[in-house]
Structure formats: C-alpha cells, structure tokens
Amino acid sequence: MSKEIIKINELKRSFTMGTETVHALKGISFTINKGEFVTIMGSSGSGKSTLLNILGCLDQPSSGSYEIDGVSIKDLSKNQLANIRNEKIGFIFQSYNLLPRTTAIENVELPLLYNRKVNSTERKSRAIKALKMVGLGDRLHHTPSQLSGGQQQRVAIARSLVNDPVMILADEATGNLDTRTSYEIMSLFQELNRKGITITFVTHEPDIASFSNRTIVLKDGNIIKDYFNTNILSAEKELAALPIEDH
C-alpha cells in the first residue's frame, strides 16, 4: 500500500457567528495516498473552503483528527503550523498571489526564504529548476505584469513545487483562466502528477474533476460522494481538440 499523505478522521469544524453556531464540516473522514490527484468539489457553502483551510494547515479542526505526512496537526503552535505549511504543502491560489514588480525567480524563491536550511545559491538553483519544470525557463526575470494569466499561474505552480512539498493544494487554480489556458494548466498538473506529485484540487467546476483520478464531493458539510474516476481525460488531448483560436 502506498504512503498516506492525508489522513482525516471524523473531522468537524464549527464557527460561532454571533449567537449562532455554524457547523461547516460535520464529521468527515478520508485518506489521500501518495501520488493521487484528488478533486474536492462542492458548491459554495458546502464546507469546501473550510476543508481547504484545514488541509492547508491555516486552520485547525474543532474536533476529529488531521494528519499530514504522518504529523498530527492537533495542538501544534502557530509557528509549528507555519513550518508544516512551509515544508509539506505547496499552495496555489485562484488569483495567483504573486508579489507585484518582483521577478518570477524571486517569486518562486519566496517559500525557501522562510526555510533556514536553504542557502541563497541553492534557493536560486531550485527556483530555476521549478520554473523550467512548468515551462517558464525563458521567463525567469519577467515580473507578473509582463506575464499572461496562464504564465502567472505557472509561476505560482513553480512556487508551490520549489519546497518539494508532500502535496500541492490548489484552490480554484483555473478559476481566473479561459478554457484553453485552464486546460494547459490542467495538463501541467497531470504531468506533475505523473511524476508522482500528490495534488489536491479544490474547485466547483465539474469538468476539472474529470482530469483527476478521484473526486470527493461535499455538500452541507458532509461528503456525499467519494469515487475514483474510471475514465480520466487527458487535458493535453482535450486541448488539441479545442478549436484553434486566432491570436
């Protein structure tokens, strides 16, 4: 059996809003193994964002357990959580969240800046390697404003890879992109996944799920579906099938 990256058991998260208590997650359990490409789906209010925050170690569960790469995040201090985020998770956001007026290399280097074990030479070489991996080897010194949306998201993906995380956590990573570009990005994710990188992709777009090998569907704080895709689409092929656009 392959290694368990994420292990969630009876996880609950509730918020107090004024006098009311909102149960965002009502006791969910699942496990993600190394090398999986999981899509977490759900409409707004399904508890998907709450789950994302917990998976990303930005938030702690009210009850239940969460282990990432064998580490239980329960009772970890803020600084310990920051270290987990730094070493085990690669974040990708809908709006890329790149630092403006900062080159691609520097943006990608950012997570390593918070890792004391990495010196500046290694930082640079790893950033370049990550950028080459996402196909931006010729855009190292471009700033976000000089890059297209798709390229910016590639920089963000490179940034998520640079720390060698156990899992990439993508939050609506294609939400700001047109169909063609989002297929390009999905094809990149599939390629990375083939190289053995575990990916958890949070989205509300069903067609994105068809590129992953497993889908977890949330509704009202519960998992209503958790299935493996039998027919995984290749984003590369889908891309080729798209009508050619004039540029």
Partner: protein, 406 residues
C-alpha cells in the same frame, strides 16, 4: 527568515515605492537636519560668546586686599593697605600659570584740558596691562618700563575721555592734560572697548604708570589690586589656587586663619554665559525634536497604510510558511531602514544647512559630533518605536482572512 534576507526584502519594498519612501523619510530628514543645524548654531554661538568674553580677558585674575579683622572689626576692602608691592613681586616670580601681571592703583579725579573737564578714574599700572586687558592702542604708544621706574607723568586715555576733553577733534597724542591738577602728557589713545558685561564704560579711563599714580596722585605705597592673566582660560582656576598659596605664604597666614585678600577669576562669569546659551540650545533642539517626532509619526502612518495595502502579500507569506515573527521583522526592518536612510540624508542636509548658515548668514556655527550621533540614534529608535505598532498588526493578521482580503 535570516536577517540578510529580511534586509533584502525590506530594501526591495522601499525601492519599489521610491517616491512614497522618500516622502515618508522627509519628516525624518527635516527633523534630523534641523536638530543638527540647531545644535550647530547653539554650539557656534556658545563658542562665539566664549570668544567675546575671552576678548574681554576671560583669563583675568584679580587679587584684592581682603577685609582684615582687627579687634573684631572687619575693615572695608578699599581701605586695606595689606596688598603690597612685595606681594606683587612674589606672585610675579613664583606663579607659573600666569602670563602677565601688573600692580594696580586707582583713584578718581577730574581730567582737565583747557576749558574742558571730565570726571574719570586713573589707573596706575605697568606696561603689561594692555596684554592682560586685551586692549589695543588706537594711537600713540604705551609707556615703557623705564618711564615706570622714573614715575614719568605720561598717560593714555580712553575714548570717552577723548570725546569729553578733546571735543574739537584734535589728536590728543602729544597734548598735555591735567588729572587732579597734575599735568600728564598724553602718549596714547586706547581702542574703543564699549561697556563691559556689567555695564561699566571701559573707555572712561586714564592709564598711567603705577609709580606716578602712587606717588603723585594718591600718595600711597601699597597697591589697590594686582591684576594678572592666566596662561589660558582652562588654567585660570589652577592659577587662582597658586596665587592664593603664594599670598598666604607671603602674608604668613596660619592654617586656621582666613585669607586677608581675595582672588577672583572670570571663569564664573563664563559658566554663567555658557549655561545661558546651553538653555537656548536645549530650546532649539526641543523644537527640532518635535519635527523628528512628527517624522516618526509619518513613518507609522505610512507603514500602517503599507500593511493594509499588502494584506494579501502578508497572507501569502504566512501561507507559504512565514511565521508571525518573520512578518513582524519584515515590516519593522522596513520602518527602521526608512528612518535610518532618512537619518543619513538628514545628516547630509543638516551639514549642508550648517555650511549655508555659516557662509551666507554669517552666523557662527560649530557641528558637534555628538549631535550627529544622537540624532542618528534617535532616528533608529524612532523607526523601531513607530514601526512596531504597524508591524505587530501585520504579524497578528489571520492568514485566511489576509489571503481573501481584497
């Protein structure tokens, strides 16, 4: 994060917002520059006041006969006959810290030239008097030691006397005047000195050999005082002690006996003036410090805005592993860097302003190293103090909220 990286990040943030950073620094720049310039003006005027007192003879030491107690009655100092020519000689020969010394006798009387007359004071001294009082001659020459020996009836007169007894403008040098009916040949006119610090007209004087005044006018053989100058202002207090020792030996005073003379220097006067200018300097610096404070508030303001503006960046940095302390340090170092850079520019501007004031306004200035050190230190402290609150605020942000912040 390592300090070097933090510095790089902070430096980058400042460079990326050049204009804003510069405007933020402006308060600090002006604050530091004005502190330095104000201190330079303060120090300068202190030095210039000191110098003008020195011109009056700041190292002057006067020895007067003191009140002697006879049968329980304390006599008046001016009646004292206890200061002798031998005392003068002893001091002259034994004191090592004195550069010039003169015996002195003085008396009031009427200066007469034909139909003009004027009440004045005659001072009997030796030729060293001019050096001690730092007086120049406007005309003529000082009498010689030979003329002192001979008790020659020669005199030098001050401007006030000239104006009153030679109202028609004739050159007094070579003319004869009478002082209390004793004829004197005027051999020199003193340069105008104006009033001294006590409001006394220093030009209302007649100077003559002390021997002449002693014998022909006052008919005394003792001295009214001995006036000397210490080799330097700093040596004055030490010289005073020396003179006191010599005088006590000279007067054969036992240890339990009080001095029957008094020795004074101008030092006390100088410290009074110094404290006045010091007060003024403190006032100027206080005003300048307020602008430094306002500069600091400017930094806080901008850093506060900067934290708000970069909320999303803060969220990202936290998401990818930045700890609260990292974020705190990032903004704190940025604030410190701004204030220190502002401080450096302020020092340069302050020095420039000082040169300008000296060159074009002709005010005396003197840049003290301590003023640069202090204002620079204040600058760094300002950065920490006013950078702390916004940085703290940034570090306390919740990463989830910060990431979603639009």
């Amino acid at each position: 994060m390592r300090i070097l990286n933090l510095l790089k990040v902070a430096f980058k943030a400042i460079v990326l917002n050049k204009m804003r950073s510069l405007l933020t620094m402006l308060g600090i720049i002006i604050g530091v520059a004005s502190v330095i310039a104000m201190l330079a003006i303060g120090e300068g005027s202190k030095a210039s006041i000191r110098e003008s007192i020195s011109n009056m003879g700041s190292n002057i030491i006067t020895i007067r006969p003191g009140a002697e107690v006879r049968g329980g009655v304390r006599g008046s100092a001016s009646d004292m006959q206890t200061l002798t020519f031998e005392d003068y000689e002893a001091i002259r020969d034994e004191a090592t810290l004195l550069s010039h010394i003169t015996p002195m006798v003085n008396g009031g009387g009427q200066v007469i030239n034909g139909s003009n007359n004027w009440p004045s004071t005659i001072y009997g001294v030796n030729p060293e008097y001019l050096e001690i009082k730092v007086v120049d001659l406007q005309n003529g020459s000082m009498f010689t030691n030979a003329e002192v020996q001979a008790a020659a009836k020669v005199a030098l007169i001050g401007q006030t006397v000239v104006e009153n007894v030679f109202p028609d403008g004739t050159n007094p040098v070579g003319q004869m005047i009478r002082f209390n009916n004793i004829p004197f040949k005027v051999i020199g006119v003193l340069e105008e000195k104006g009033e001294n610090t006590f409001g006394q007209d220093q030009d209302d004087v007649v100077i003559a050999p002390y021997t002449t005044v002693q014998k022909r006018i006052l008919a005394i053989d003792y001295l009214n005082q001995v006036m000397a100058s210490a080799v330097s202002e700093e040596d004055a207090p030490e010289a005073v002690t020396q003179v006191i020792d010599i005088m006590r030996t000279q007067h054969k005073l036992r240890d339990d006996e009080e001095d029957n003379f008094s020795v004074r220097s101008m030092e006390e006067l100088i410290s009074t003036f110094s404290s006045t200018t010091e007060m003024l300097t403190i006032l100027l610096v206080a005003v300048a410090s307020i602008s430094l404070l306002i500069g600091g508030i400017g930094i806080m303001n901008i850093m506060y805005v900067s934290v708000k503006e970069r909320t999303k960046e803060i969220g990202l940095r936290m998401a990818i592993g930045g700890r609260g302390a990292d974020i705190l340090m990032q903004f704190l170092i940025e604030a410190i860097l701004i204030s220190i850079t502002g401080g450096l520019l302020g020092v340069v501007l302050g020095l420039g302003a000082t040169v300008f004031i000296e060159k074009f306004l002709h005010w005396p200035t003197s840049v003290a190293l301590y003023s640069i050190v202090i204002s620079f230190a204040v600058c760094a402290i300002t950065g920490i103090f006013f950078g702390w609150y916004p940085a703290r605020k940034a570090a306390a942000l919740d990463p989830i909220t910060a990431l979603r912040y639009e």
